[in-house]
Symmetry: C2
Subunit: 179 residues, 2 copies
DNA sequence: GTAAGTGCAAACGTTTTGCAATGAA
DNA sequence: TTCATTGCAAAACGTTTGCACTTAC
């Protein structure tokens, strides 16, 4: 699947993340707990876009007693300390992705199989900067999402009919992108 | 507020919209009702990004018995016939904007006062096409949103602290209030 | 008269919250 | 011992739906 493009010449992102979290917890007078660690570890090592529901399922394979509330609370925490970034891809569910040791990137989202493909474009970012400047606007973050049909779905002759999103999708193999 | 950039050399967008709706209703064997007309008229003449809740409030100043369900149903209808486009700006609420006689455009969104500024960029659109092509992806629609602080909020010395979005904010310039 | 549309309330799916019990420091 | 954290269940949120009633055609 989509591999996190780690920034070269830096320490292992997972390790950086662990340390960042530990420091954040210490600084804020919070506590390190079994559930917190379990959720953070599961999320970070997954290295992918994950819906809360999926994350909860994963975590529960390791500890079936973890509650949804704790996952929500922990993901909020990870967002606050910059280890996770939150997305809403229009299916009404919150989706998180690890944010450490990663370049900023945007997304291509297949409305049929829900595949998420990442891309980066310095040129688009530059144009965004120009536009913001023109409006006297200070951009803190942005979101660029291209919706449509991925190569796999196009190949399998899919009509542009989007599915109702509920995660029972037979995901077609991802197509390697030309760069 | 943001003025709809109507396409020059065409009929009054509001009129076009009315006719489009009438035709759609006739074609589909639907019915023209008092509520439908009221909601459509209110929405279209408002000419702006409107949350369902705001729209409902507006409509209810004219007829207090209109239900939220009807507003939702009607906005779905307007979306289907291309008169409204739906947005989710990350505050968990659906927001519609009139789509007739308008160029495609993207948004700058102030995280402090929730002002929405529209912009167009052919160059960004072109780059998006290039990227999609590179991934063998067929784009049906896209979304580009730049979040941050608008000129007014910057001028009033706002810190980059985004509010919790719930709209009890003391807005510097213009204020679309909710609740 | 017949279907489509309405309002209402109840149901929905996701997320948040209050609270008593638990556990890390 | 203290106070953050947990699990649970209930609430909250925006939205959708079932249904009996109403209305446009």
């Amino acid at each position: 699947m989509t591999q996190a493009p780690s920034i070269p010449g830096q320490a292992d992102p997972l390790d950086v993340a662990r340390r960042t979290l530990a420091r954040y917890i210490a600084d804020k007078g919070l506590k390190s707990t079994r559930q917190r660690d379990l959720i953070a570890e599961t999320f970070l090592s997954q290295g992918e876009h994950l819906r809360v529901e999926q994350l909860l399922k994963l975590v529960r394979t390791l500890d079936s007693r973890v509650s949804a509330a704790t996952v929500y609370r922990t993901m909020k925490l990870l967002s606050e300390c910059g280890l996770a970034s939150q997305h809403h891809f229009g299916d009404g569910q919150t989706c998180y992705e690890p944010a450490v040791g990663r370049h900023h990137h945007d997304h291509l989202i297949c409305t049929r199989c829900h595949a998420i493909i990442e891309f980066e474009s310095d040129r688009i970012e530059a144009l965004q900067g120009t536009i913001a400047r023109r409006h006297g606007f200070l951009v803190t973050h942005h979101r660029l999402e291209l919706y449509g049909l991925c190569a796999a779905c196009l190949a399998s002759g899919a009509v542009a009919e989007p599915e109702k999103v509920k995660e029972k999708k037979p995901k077609p193999a991802e197509v390697p992108a030309r760069r």
